[in-house]
Protein backbone atom coordinates (compact mmCIF):
# COMPACT_ATOMS: atom_id res chain seq x y z
CA UNK A 1 0.00 0.00 0.00
CA UNK A 2 1.26 3.46 -0.81
CA UNK A 3 1.89 5.93 1.95
CA UNK A 4 -0.90 8.08 0.51
CA UNK A 5 -3.37 5.27 0.95
CA UNK A 6 -2.18 4.55 4.50
CA UNK A 7 -2.56 8.18 5.54
CA UNK A 8 -5.88 8.58 3.73
CA UNK A 9 -7.96 8.88 6.96
CA UNK A 10 -5.88 11.87 8.06
CA UNK A 11 -5.84 13.44 4.58
CA UNK A 12 -9.63 13.12 4.35
CA UNK A 13 -10.09 15.00 7.61
CA UNK A 14 -7.69 17.72 6.47
CA UNK A 15 -9.48 17.98 3.12
CA UNK A 16 -12.89 18.32 4.72
CA UNK A 17 -11.58 20.91 7.18
CA UNK A 18 -10.47 23.05 4.24
CA UNK A 19 -13.78 22.45 2.43
CA UNK A 20 -15.77 23.43 5.53
CA UNK A 21 -13.66 26.57 5.97
CA UNK A 22 -14.28 27.52 2.32
CA UNK A 23 -17.97 26.70 2.68
CA UNK A 24 -18.20 28.91 5.77
CA UNK A 25 -16.84 31.81 3.73
CA UNK A 26 -18.88 31.34 0.57
CA UNK A 27 -22.33 30.01 1.45
CA UNK A 28 -25.24 31.71 3.21
CA UNK A 29 -26.64 29.05 5.54
CA UNK A 30 -23.26 28.34 7.02
CA UNK A 31 -23.89 26.30 10.13
CA UNK A 32 -25.87 23.56 8.39
CA UNK A 33 -23.29 23.22 5.61
CA UNK A 34 -20.30 23.05 7.99
CA UNK A 35 -22.05 20.43 10.13
CA UNK A 36 -22.81 18.27 7.10
CA UNK A 37 -19.25 18.59 5.80
CA UNK A 38 -17.89 17.68 9.23
CA UNK A 39 -20.15 14.65 9.50
CA UNK A 40 -19.32 13.41 5.98
CA UNK A 41 -15.61 14.05 6.46
CA UNK A 42 -15.39 12.15 9.72
CA UNK A 43 -17.58 9.30 8.43
CA UNK A 44 -15.47 8.90 5.28
CA UNK A 45 -12.32 8.92 7.39
CA UNK A 46 -13.91 6.24 9.60
CA UNK A 47 -14.63 4.09 6.53
CA UNK A 48 -11.11 4.66 5.20
CA UNK A 49 -9.56 3.60 8.53
CA UNK A 50 -11.69 0.47 8.59
CA UNK A 51 -10.75 -0.38 5.00
CA UNK A 52 -7.00 -0.16 5.69
CA UNK A 53 -7.39 -2.51 8.65
CA UNK A 54 -6.32 -6.07 7.96
CA UNK A 55 -4.98 -8.99 9.99
CA UNK A 56 -1.72 -8.99 8.11
CA UNK A 57 -1.02 -5.26 8.10
CA UNK A 58 2.66 -4.83 8.87
CA UNK A 59 3.55 -1.62 10.71
CA UNK A 60 4.39 0.97 8.06
CA UNK A 61 7.02 3.46 9.20
CA UNK A 62 7.05 6.77 7.33
CA UNK A 63 8.67 10.20 7.52
CA UNK A 64 11.91 8.84 9.02
CA UNK A 65 10.22 7.04 11.89
CA UNK A 66 7.92 9.89 12.81
CA UNK A 67 4.69 8.30 11.67
CA UNK A 68 3.74 4.65 12.16
CA UNK A 69 0.58 3.25 10.62
CA UNK A 70 -0.38 -0.08 12.16
CA UNK A 71 -3.49 -1.67 13.58
CA UNK A 72 -2.93 0.27 16.80
CA UNK A 73 -3.08 3.65 15.08
CA UNK A 74 -6.11 2.51 13.06
CA UNK A 75 -7.94 1.45 16.22
CA UNK A 76 -7.21 4.84 17.77
CA UNK A 77 -8.54 6.44 14.56
CA UNK A 78 -11.80 4.51 14.84
CA UNK A 79 -12.28 5.47 18.51
CA UNK A 80 -11.57 9.17 18.11
CA UNK A 81 -13.62 9.42 14.92
CA UNK A 82 -16.53 7.91 16.86
CA UNK A 83 -16.05 10.63 19.48
CA UNK A 84 -15.85 13.32 16.78
CA UNK A 85 -18.97 12.11 14.96
CA UNK A 86 -20.76 12.04 18.31
CA UNK A 87 -19.68 15.61 19.09
CA UNK A 88 -20.88 16.93 15.71
CA UNK A 89 -24.22 15.14 16.03
CA UNK A 90 -24.73 16.36 19.60
CA UNK A 91 -23.91 19.92 18.54
CA UNK A 92 -26.19 19.68 15.50
CA UNK A 93 -28.13 22.90 14.94
CA UNK A 94 -26.68 24.63 18.01
CA UNK A 95 -26.21 28.09 16.58
CA UNK A 96 -24.94 29.41 19.92
CA UNK A 97 -21.52 27.86 19.37
CA UNK A 98 -21.03 29.40 15.94
CA UNK A 99 -20.30 28.01 12.52
CA UNK A 100 -16.70 27.16 13.45
CA UNK A 101 -17.81 24.44 15.85
CA UNK A 102 -17.69 21.56 13.29
CA UNK A 103 -14.41 22.81 11.81
CA UNK A 104 -12.65 23.03 15.17
CA UNK A 105 -14.05 19.65 16.18
CA UNK A 106 -12.54 18.12 13.05
CA UNK A 107 -9.13 19.71 13.68
CA UNK A 108 -9.16 18.46 17.25
CA UNK A 109 -10.04 14.94 16.10
CA UNK A 110 -7.16 15.17 13.62
CA UNK A 111 -4.82 15.90 16.54
CA UNK A 112 -6.08 12.81 18.37
CA UNK A 113 -5.50 10.72 15.23
CA UNK A 114 -1.95 12.08 14.99
CA UNK A 115 -1.33 10.94 18.58
CA UNK A 116 -2.17 7.40 17.53
CA UNK A 117 0.36 7.58 14.68
CA UNK A 118 3.20 9.20 16.57
CA UNK A 119 6.54 7.42 16.43
CA UNK A 120 8.80 10.22 17.61
CA UNK A 121 8.56 13.14 19.97
CA UNK A 122 8.08 15.75 17.23
CA UNK A 123 4.84 14.09 16.14
CA UNK A 124 3.86 13.57 19.80
CA UNK A 125 4.19 17.30 20.45
CA UNK A 126 2.39 18.28 17.24
CA UNK A 127 -0.44 15.86 17.97
CA UNK A 128 -0.95 17.21 21.47
CA UNK A 129 -1.01 20.79 20.22
CA UNK A 130 -3.30 20.10 17.24
CA UNK A 131 -5.64 18.43 19.73
CA UNK A 132 -5.47 21.18 22.35
CA UNK A 133 -5.53 24.44 20.40
CA UNK A 134 -9.03 23.96 18.91
CA UNK A 135 -10.30 22.68 22.26
CA UNK A 136 -9.21 25.94 23.95
CA UNK A 137 -11.45 27.86 21.56
CA UNK A 138 -14.30 25.34 21.79
CA UNK A 139 -14.29 25.31 25.58
CA UNK A 140 -14.58 29.10 25.62
CA UNK A 141 -17.37 29.18 23.02
CA UNK A 142 -20.28 29.09 25.45
CA UNK A 143 -21.24 32.74 25.89
CA UNK A 144 -21.56 32.62 29.67
CA UNK A 145 -19.20 33.57 32.46
CA UNK A 146 -18.61 29.88 33.17
CA UNK A 147 -17.68 29.41 29.50
CA UNK A 148 -15.02 32.12 29.61
CA UNK A 149 -13.69 30.76 32.88
CA UNK A 150 -13.48 27.24 31.48
CA UNK A 151 -11.63 28.46 28.39
CA UNK A 152 -9.18 30.51 30.44
CA UNK A 153 -8.45 27.70 32.88
CA UNK A 154 -7.97 25.18 30.12
CA UNK A 155 -5.72 27.56 28.19
CA UNK A 156 -3.46 28.45 31.12
CA UNK A 157 -3.12 24.92 32.46
CA UNK A 158 -2.82 23.51 28.94
CA UNK A 159 0.01 25.90 28.07
CA UNK A 160 1.66 25.15 31.41
CA UNK A 161 1.45 21.38 30.94
CA UNK A 162 2.68 21.64 27.34
CA UNK A 163 5.64 23.63 28.64
CA UNK A 164 6.47 20.87 31.14
CA UNK A 165 6.09 18.23 28.44
CA UNK A 166 8.33 20.15 26.02
CA UNK A 167 11.11 20.67 28.52
CA UNK A 168 10.91 16.98 29.38
CA UNK A 169 11.21 16.08 25.71
CA UNK A 170 14.20 18.43 25.37
CA UNK A 171 15.98 16.73 28.30
CA UNK A 172 15.20 13.29 26.87
CA UNK A 173 16.72 14.40 23.58
CA UNK A 174 19.76 15.68 25.43
CA UNK A 175 20.21 12.44 27.34
CA UNK A 176 19.60 10.05 24.45
CA UNK A 177 20.46 11.99 21.29
CA UNK A 178 17.41 10.79 19.43
CA UNK A 179 13.77 11.74 19.06
CA UNK A 180 12.46 8.39 17.94
CA UNK A 181 10.64 6.13 20.44
CA UNK A 182 12.14 2.94 19.08
CA UNK A 183 15.66 4.32 19.37
CA UNK A 184 14.94 5.28 23.00
CA UNK A 185 14.54 1.62 23.95
CA UNK A 186 18.07 0.71 22.91
CA UNK A 187 19.61 3.90 24.27
CA UNK A 188 17.87 4.15 27.65
CA UNK A 189 19.79 1.45 29.49
CA UNK A 190 21.80 3.66 31.81
CA UNK A 191 20.32 6.01 34.31
CA UNK A 192 21.51 9.58 34.17
CA UNK A 193 19.89 12.46 36.07
CA UNK A 194 19.15 14.14 32.74
CA UNK A 195 17.28 11.09 31.45
CA UNK A 196 15.40 10.65 34.70
CA UNK A 197 14.33 14.33 34.85
CA UNK A 198 13.28 14.37 31.20
CA UNK A 199 11.29 11.18 31.57
CA UNK A 200 9.48 12.43 34.69
CA UNK A 201 8.60 15.80 33.15
CA UNK A 202 7.35 14.16 29.94
CA UNK A 203 5.11 11.80 31.90
CA UNK A 204 3.79 14.70 33.98
CA UNK A 205 2.87 16.55 30.78
CA UNK A 206 0.97 13.56 29.39
CA UNK A 207 -0.74 12.96 32.76
CA UNK A 208 -2.04 16.53 32.66
CA UNK A 209 -3.82 15.80 29.38
CA UNK A 210 -5.13 12.48 30.66
CA UNK A 211 -6.33 13.94 33.99
CA UNK A 212 -4.38 11.73 36.42
CA UNK A 213 -4.82 12.74 40.04
CA UNK A 214 -2.13 15.18 41.09
CA UNK A 215 -2.68 16.90 37.72
CA UNK A 216 -6.48 16.72 37.58
CA UNK A 217 -7.55 20.11 38.99
CA UNK A 218 -8.60 21.56 35.64
CA UNK A 219 -10.86 18.67 34.59
CA UNK A 220 -14.11 19.35 36.49
CA UNK A 221 -14.09 23.12 35.93
CA UNK A 222 -13.38 22.80 32.21
CA UNK A 223 -15.98 20.05 31.81
CA UNK A 224 -18.60 22.11 33.62
CA UNK A 225 -18.05 25.34 31.70
CA UNK A 226 -17.65 23.94 28.19
CA UNK A 227 -20.56 23.28 25.82
CA UNK A 228 -21.84 19.74 26.42
CA UNK A 229 -20.89 18.39 22.97
CA UNK A 230 -17.35 19.68 23.46
CA UNK A 231 -17.20 18.12 26.92
CA UNK A 232 -18.15 14.82 25.32
CA UNK A 233 -15.27 15.19 22.86
CA UNK A 234 -12.86 15.95 25.72
CA UNK A 235 -14.12 13.10 27.88
CA UNK A 236 -13.93 10.47 25.15
CA UNK A 237 -11.58 11.69 22.40
CA UNK A 238 -8.89 13.41 24.46
CA UNK A 239 -8.75 10.47 26.82
CA UNK A 240 -8.28 8.06 23.88
CA UNK A 241 -5.56 10.25 22.37
CA UNK A 242 -3.65 10.76 25.61
CA UNK A 243 -3.94 7.10 26.64
CA UNK A 244 -2.79 6.00 23.17
CA UNK A 245 0.32 8.15 23.23
CA UNK A 246 1.10 7.15 26.83
CA UNK A 247 0.96 3.46 25.94
CA UNK A 248 3.05 3.87 22.77
CA UNK A 249 5.62 6.11 24.47
CA UNK A 250 6.14 3.79 27.43
CA UNK A 251 5.88 0.46 25.65
CA UNK A 252 8.11 1.42 22.76
CA UNK A 253 10.50 3.89 24.29
CA UNK A 254 10.94 2.46 27.79
CA UNK A 255 9.90 -1.12 27.35
CA UNK A 256 13.16 -2.43 28.79
CA UNK A 257 13.15 -0.26 31.90
CA UNK A 258 9.72 -0.72 33.51
CA UNK A 259 11.27 -0.50 36.97
CA UNK A 260 11.38 3.29 36.48
CA UNK A 261 7.76 3.81 35.78
CA UNK A 262 5.78 0.67 36.66
CA UNK A 263 5.46 1.22 40.43
CA UNK A 264 4.90 4.98 40.11
CA UNK A 265 2.14 4.42 37.57
CA UNK A 266 0.58 1.80 39.80
CA UNK A 267 0.38 4.15 42.79
CA UNK A 268 -0.98 6.97 40.63
CA UNK A 269 -3.58 4.62 39.14
CA UNK A 270 -4.88 3.58 42.58
CA UNK A 271 -4.86 7.18 43.80
CA UNK A 272 -6.69 8.38 40.69
CA UNK A 273 -9.36 5.67 40.82
CA UNK A 274 -10.13 6.34 44.47
CA UNK A 275 -9.92 10.14 44.49
CA UNK A 276 -11.82 10.57 41.21
CA UNK A 277 -14.72 8.35 42.22
CA UNK A 278 -14.76 9.68 45.79
CA UNK A 279 -15.02 13.30 44.63
CA UNK A 280 -17.78 12.31 42.18
CA UNK A 281 -20.01 11.30 45.11
CA UNK A 282 -21.13 14.75 46.37
CA UNK A 283 -21.53 16.44 42.95
CA UNK A 284 -24.88 17.88 41.94
CA UNK A 285 -23.97 19.29 38.51
CA UNK A 286 -24.18 16.41 36.05
CA UNK A 287 -21.31 17.57 33.83
CA UNK A 288 -19.11 18.01 36.88
CA UNK A 289 -20.03 14.54 38.05
CA UNK A 290 -19.04 13.18 34.65
CA UNK A 291 -15.80 15.16 34.91
CA UNK A 292 -14.85 13.44 38.16
CA UNK A 293 -16.01 10.14 36.71
CA UNK A 294 -13.66 10.84 33.78
CA UNK A 295 -10.80 11.24 36.27
CA UNK A 296 -11.74 7.95 37.89
CA UNK A 297 -11.83 6.22 34.52
CA UNK A 298 -8.44 7.66 33.62
CA UNK A 299 -7.23 5.77 36.69
CA UNK A 300 -8.81 2.57 35.38
CA UNK A 301 -7.03 3.10 32.05
CA UNK A 302 -3.74 3.64 33.86
CA UNK A 303 -4.11 0.20 35.47
CA UNK A 304 -3.72 -1.33 32.02
CA UNK A 305 -0.54 0.65 31.37
CA UNK A 306 0.91 0.03 34.83
CA UNK A 307 0.62 -3.77 34.60
CA UNK A 308 3.16 -3.62 31.75
CA UNK A 309 2.13 -6.77 29.94
CA UNK A 310 0.23 -7.54 26.79
CA UNK A 311 -2.96 -8.28 28.71
CA UNK A 312 -2.81 -4.85 30.28
CA UNK A 313 -2.38 -3.12 26.93
CA UNK A 314 -5.30 -5.09 25.49
CA UNK A 315 -7.50 -4.43 28.51
CA UNK A 316 -6.77 -0.70 28.39
CA UNK A 317 -7.55 -0.47 24.68
CA UNK A 318 -10.74 -2.44 25.17
CA UNK A 319 -11.85 -0.32 28.14
CA UNK A 320 -11.72 2.83 26.01
CA UNK A 321 -14.67 1.67 23.93
CA UNK A 322 -17.30 0.90 26.63
CA UNK A 323 -16.22 4.07 28.43
CA UNK A 324 -16.65 6.02 25.20
CA UNK A 325 -20.09 4.58 24.49
CA UNK A 326 -21.20 5.39 28.04
CA UNK A 327 -19.88 8.96 27.66
CA UNK A 328 -21.73 9.37 24.35
CA UNK A 329 -24.97 8.10 25.86
CA UNK A 330 -24.72 10.15 29.04
CA UNK A 331 -24.02 13.37 27.16
CA UNK A 332 -26.81 12.68 24.65
CA UNK A 333 -29.32 12.45 27.52
CA UNK A 334 -27.74 15.47 29.19
CA UNK A 335 -28.17 17.58 26.04
CA UNK A 336 -31.74 16.38 25.45
CA UNK A 337 -32.70 17.19 29.05
CA UNK A 338 -30.90 20.53 29.03
CA UNK A 339 -32.79 21.99 26.06
CA UNK A 340 -31.76 25.64 26.04
CA UNK A 341 -30.24 25.61 29.53
CA UNK A 342 -26.50 25.81 30.09
CA UNK A 343 -26.26 23.41 33.01
CA UNK A 344 -28.01 20.24 34.10
CA UNK A 345 -28.16 19.31 37.75
CA UNK A 346 -29.25 16.00 39.17
CA UNK A 347 -32.57 17.52 40.22
CA UNK A 348 -33.30 18.36 36.56
CA UNK A 349 -33.53 14.63 35.95
CA UNK A 350 -36.38 14.21 38.45
CA UNK A 351 -39.42 12.46 37.06
CA UNK A 352 -37.79 11.58 33.75
CA UNK A 353 -38.77 7.95 34.21
CA UNK A 354 -42.45 8.93 34.15
CA UNK A 355 -42.26 11.48 31.37
CA UNK A 356 -39.79 9.89 28.96
CA UNK A 357 -39.49 6.22 30.01
CA UNK A 358 -37.31 5.23 27.04
CA UNK A 359 -34.84 8.08 27.59
CA UNK A 360 -34.66 7.23 31.28
CA UNK A 361 -34.11 3.54 30.52
CA UNK A 362 -31.24 4.38 28.14
CA UNK A 363 -29.74 6.69 30.75
CA UNK A 364 -29.88 3.92 33.35
CA UNK A 365 -28.10 1.54 30.96
CA UNK A 366 -25.16 3.92 30.33
CA UNK A 367 -24.89 4.77 34.04
CA UNK A 368 -24.77 1.06 34.90
CA UNK A 369 -22.04 0.66 32.29
CA UNK A 370 -20.05 3.44 33.96
CA UNK A 371 -20.48 1.64 37.26
CA UNK A 372 -19.54 -1.73 35.77
CA UNK A 373 -22.69 -3.82 36.24
CA UNK A 374 -22.77 -7.16 34.34
CA UNK A 375 -24.33 -7.29 30.85
CA UNK A 376 -22.93 -3.86 30.06
CA UNK A 377 -19.64 -3.10 28.33
CA UNK A 378 -18.22 -1.44 31.41
CA UNK A 379 -18.32 -4.72 33.31
CA UNK A 380 -16.40 -6.61 30.62
CA UNK A 381 -13.82 -3.82 30.42
CA UNK A 382 -13.28 -3.78 34.19
CA UNK A 383 -13.11 -7.57 34.21
CA UNK A 384 -10.26 -7.55 31.67
CA UNK A 385 -8.41 -4.87 33.63
CA UNK A 386 -8.78 -6.88 36.84
CA UNK A 387 -7.55 -9.99 35.07
CA UNK A 388 -4.52 -8.13 33.68
CA UNK A 389 -3.66 -6.76 37.14
CA UNK A 390 -3.87 -10.22 38.68
CA UNK A 391 -1.84 -11.85 35.88
CA UNK A 392 0.83 -9.23 36.49
CA UNK A 393 0.95 -10.19 40.18
CA UNK A 394 -0.13 -6.75 41.31
CA UNK A 395 -2.95 -7.35 43.81
CA UNK A 396 -2.73 -3.73 44.98
CA UNK A 397 -3.93 -2.56 41.59
CA UNK A 398 -6.79 -5.07 41.67
CA UNK A 399 -7.88 -3.95 45.13
CA UNK A 400 -7.73 -0.30 44.08
CA UNK A 401 -9.83 -1.10 41.03
CA UNK A 402 -12.51 -2.81 43.10
CA UNK A 403 -12.61 -0.03 45.70
CA UNK A 404 -12.81 2.61 42.95
CA UNK A 405 -15.65 0.71 41.27
CA UNK A 406 -17.61 0.48 44.52
CA UNK A 407 -17.20 4.20 45.19
CA UNK A 408 -18.25 4.90 41.60
CA UNK A 409 -21.39 2.84 42.07
CA UNK A 410 -22.56 5.31 44.70
CA UNK A 411 -21.88 8.27 42.43
CA UNK A 412 -23.70 6.82 39.41
CA UNK A 413 -26.74 5.60 41.31
CA UNK A 414 -27.64 9.09 42.57
CA UNK A 415 -28.69 10.41 39.14
CA UNK A 416 -30.51 7.11 38.50
CA UNK A 417 -32.39 7.53 41.77
CA UNK A 418 -33.41 11.05 40.76
CA UNK A 419 -35.09 9.68 37.63
CA UNK A 420 -37.76 8.02 39.77
CA UNK A 421 -38.53 10.83 42.22
CA UNK A 422 -41.48 13.18 41.82
CA UNK A 423 -41.19 15.54 38.88
CA UNK A 424 -40.91 19.29 39.22
CA UNK A 425 -44.05 20.49 37.38
CA UNK A 426 -42.47 23.74 36.22
CA UNK A 427 -39.92 21.93 34.09
CA UNK A 428 -40.80 21.22 30.46
CA UNK A 429 -40.73 17.61 29.28
CA UNK A 430 -37.51 16.95 27.29
CA UNK A 431 -38.00 16.79 23.52
CA UNK A 432 -36.40 14.09 21.38
CA UNK A 433 -34.21 15.38 18.56
CA UNK A 434 -33.13 13.20 15.65
CA UNK A 435 -29.39 13.65 16.15
CA UNK A 436 -29.61 13.15 19.92
CA UNK A 437 -31.69 10.01 19.44
CA UNK A 438 -29.22 8.58 16.90
CA UNK A 439 -26.26 9.08 19.27
CA UNK A 440 -28.18 7.68 22.23
CA UNK A 441 -29.37 4.57 20.39
CA UNK A 442 -25.89 3.84 18.98
CA UNK A 443 -24.40 4.31 22.45
CA UNK A 444 -26.92 1.98 24.10
CA UNK A 445 -26.57 -0.69 21.40
CA UNK A 446 -22.79 -0.45 21.74
CA UNK A 447 -22.91 -0.66 25.53
CA UNK A 448 -25.16 -3.71 25.63
CA UNK A 449 -23.47 -5.30 22.62
CA UNK A 450 -20.06 -5.07 24.28
CA UNK A 451 -21.49 -6.50 27.48
CA UNK A 452 -23.24 -9.46 25.86
CA UNK A 453 -20.98 -10.33 22.95
CA UNK A 454 -17.58 -8.63 23.23
CA UNK A 455 -15.69 -11.19 21.11
CA UNK A 456 -15.40 -9.23 17.81
CA UNK A 457 -14.07 -6.15 19.58
CA UNK A 458 -11.71 -8.28 21.67
CA UNK A 459 -10.27 -9.68 18.44
CA UNK A 460 -9.76 -6.18 17.01
CA UNK A 461 -8.11 -5.03 20.23
CA UNK A 462 -5.84 -8.08 20.40
CA UNK A 463 -4.59 -7.45 16.87
CA UNK A 464 -3.99 -3.79 17.50
CA UNK A 465 -2.10 -4.44 20.77
CA UNK A 466 0.47 -6.51 18.85
CA UNK A 467 2.61 -3.40 18.45
CA UNK A 468 3.74 -4.25 21.97
CA UNK A 469 6.23 -6.84 20.73
CA UNK A 470 7.83 -4.81 17.98
CA UNK A 471 11.27 -3.73 18.95
Amino acid sequence: MSSFHLMLPEYLVVGFVLLALLGNMLVGNRFRLASWLGLIGLLSSFVASASIWSHSLQPQVMISGGVVVDNYSLLVNLFVLLAGIGAILLGWGERRWGQEFPVLTMISVLGMMILGLAGNTIVLFLGIEVLSLPLYILSASEHTTAGGEAGLKYLLLGAFSSGILLFGLALLYGALGSLSFIRFASLANTTSPLLWAGFTLTLAGIFFKLGIVPFHMWVPDVYEGSPSAVTQLMAFGTKVGAAAILLRFLDWGFYLSPQWWGPALGYLAVLTMIVGNLLALPQTDLKRLLGYSGIGHAGFLLVGVATHNLDGARAMLFYLLPYGFAVLGAFAVLILVAGNQDTVTISDLKGLAGRRPLMAAFFIIVMLSFAGIPLTGGFVGKFYLLQAALFANQPGLAIGLVVGTLLGLGAYLRPVQALFSVADESRATPVWTVSGAVVLIVAVIGTIGLGVYPTPVVHLVNQSANFFWLH
Partner: protein, 100 residues
Protein backbone atom coordinates in the same frame (compact mmCIF):
# COMPACT_ATOMS: atom_id res chain seq x y z
CA UNK B 1 32.78 28.21 22.42
CA UNK B 2 30.18 28.26 25.16
CA UNK B 3 30.03 24.96 27.11
CA UNK B 4 26.81 23.02 26.61
CA UNK B 5 26.09 22.91 30.33
CA UNK B 6 25.87 26.68 30.55
CA UNK B 7 23.23 26.83 27.83
CA UNK B 8 21.21 24.01 29.36
CA UNK B 9 21.60 25.64 32.79
CA UNK B 10 20.23 28.89 31.37
CA UNK B 11 17.32 26.98 29.84
CA UNK B 12 16.61 25.34 33.20
CA UNK B 13 16.66 28.73 34.96
CA UNK B 14 14.25 30.21 32.41
CA UNK B 15 12.03 27.15 32.80
CA UNK B 16 12.00 27.54 36.57
CA UNK B 17 11.18 31.26 36.32
CA UNK B 18 8.33 30.46 33.96
CA UNK B 19 6.95 27.68 36.16
CA UNK B 20 7.10 29.84 39.29
CA UNK B 21 5.47 32.68 37.37
CA UNK B 22 2.50 30.53 36.36
CA UNK B 23 2.01 29.33 39.92
CA UNK B 24 2.65 32.56 41.80
CA UNK B 25 1.14 35.32 39.65
CA UNK B 26 -2.61 35.92 39.48
CA UNK B 27 -2.90 37.94 36.28
CA UNK B 28 -3.80 35.65 33.35
CA UNK B 29 -1.66 37.69 30.94
CA UNK B 30 1.45 37.31 33.09
CA UNK B 31 0.66 33.64 33.72
CA UNK B 32 0.32 33.06 29.99
CA UNK B 33 3.57 34.90 29.32
CA UNK B 34 5.31 32.73 31.93
CA UNK B 35 3.98 29.59 30.25
CA UNK B 36 5.39 30.83 26.95
CA UNK B 37 8.74 31.32 28.70
CA UNK B 38 8.69 27.65 29.62
CA UNK B 39 8.15 26.80 25.95
CA UNK B 40 11.04 29.00 24.89
CA UNK B 41 13.35 27.48 27.46
CA UNK B 42 12.55 24.08 25.93
CA UNK B 43 13.36 25.45 22.47
CA UNK B 44 16.69 26.74 23.77
CA UNK B 45 17.50 23.38 25.33
CA UNK B 46 16.64 21.62 22.06
CA UNK B 47 19.03 23.85 20.11
CA UNK B 48 21.81 23.35 22.63
CA UNK B 49 21.41 19.58 22.51
CA UNK B 50 21.20 19.64 18.72
CA UNK B 51 24.69 21.16 18.69
CA UNK B 52 25.91 18.59 21.17
CA UNK B 53 24.64 15.65 19.12
CA UNK B 54 25.38 17.24 15.73
CA UNK B 55 21.88 16.44 14.51
CA UNK B 56 19.27 18.64 12.90
CA UNK B 57 16.21 17.14 14.56
CA UNK B 58 16.55 19.29 17.66
CA UNK B 59 16.58 22.42 15.53
CA UNK B 60 13.50 21.25 13.63
CA UNK B 61 11.77 20.80 16.97
CA UNK B 62 12.77 24.32 18.01
CA UNK B 63 11.22 25.77 14.85
CA UNK B 64 8.03 23.81 15.44
CA UNK B 65 7.90 25.05 19.03
CA UNK B 66 8.19 28.67 17.88
CA UNK B 67 5.47 28.18 15.26
CA UNK B 68 3.07 26.45 17.64
CA UNK B 69 3.71 29.03 20.33
CA UNK B 70 2.67 31.75 17.87
CA UNK B 71 -0.60 29.93 17.17
CA UNK B 72 -1.19 29.45 20.88
CA UNK B 73 -0.58 33.13 21.63
CA UNK B 74 -3.16 34.09 19.00
CA UNK B 75 -5.79 31.87 20.59
CA UNK B 76 -4.78 32.65 24.15
CA UNK B 77 -4.91 36.42 23.84
CA UNK B 78 -8.31 36.17 22.16
CA UNK B 79 -9.68 34.13 25.07
CA UNK B 80 -8.16 36.49 27.67
CA UNK B 81 -9.66 39.52 25.90
CA UNK B 82 -13.11 37.85 25.81
CA UNK B 83 -12.96 37.17 29.53
CA UNK B 84 -11.83 40.73 30.19
CA UNK B 85 -14.78 42.07 28.18
CA UNK B 86 -17.19 40.23 30.46
CA UNK B 87 -15.51 41.04 33.78
CA UNK B 88 -13.38 44.14 33.35
CA UNK B 89 -10.95 42.64 35.83
CA UNK B 90 -8.07 40.30 35.22
CA UNK B 91 -7.41 38.20 38.30
CA UNK B 92 -7.72 34.46 38.16
CA UNK B 93 -8.90 34.22 41.77
CA UNK B 94 -11.81 36.56 41.05
CA UNK B 95 -12.63 34.95 37.71
CA UNK B 96 -12.75 31.54 39.36
CA UNK B 97 -16.39 30.88 40.25
CA UNK B 98 -16.65 27.12 39.83
CA UNK B 99 -15.86 25.17 42.96
CA UNK B 100 -16.30 21.68 44.29
Amino acid sequence: MIPINWVVGLAAIIFAIGAIGVMARRNPLIMFMSAEMMWNSAALAFIAFARQWHSMSGQIMAFLIVGTAAAEVGIGLAIIVTVYHRRHRLDVDEISGMKG
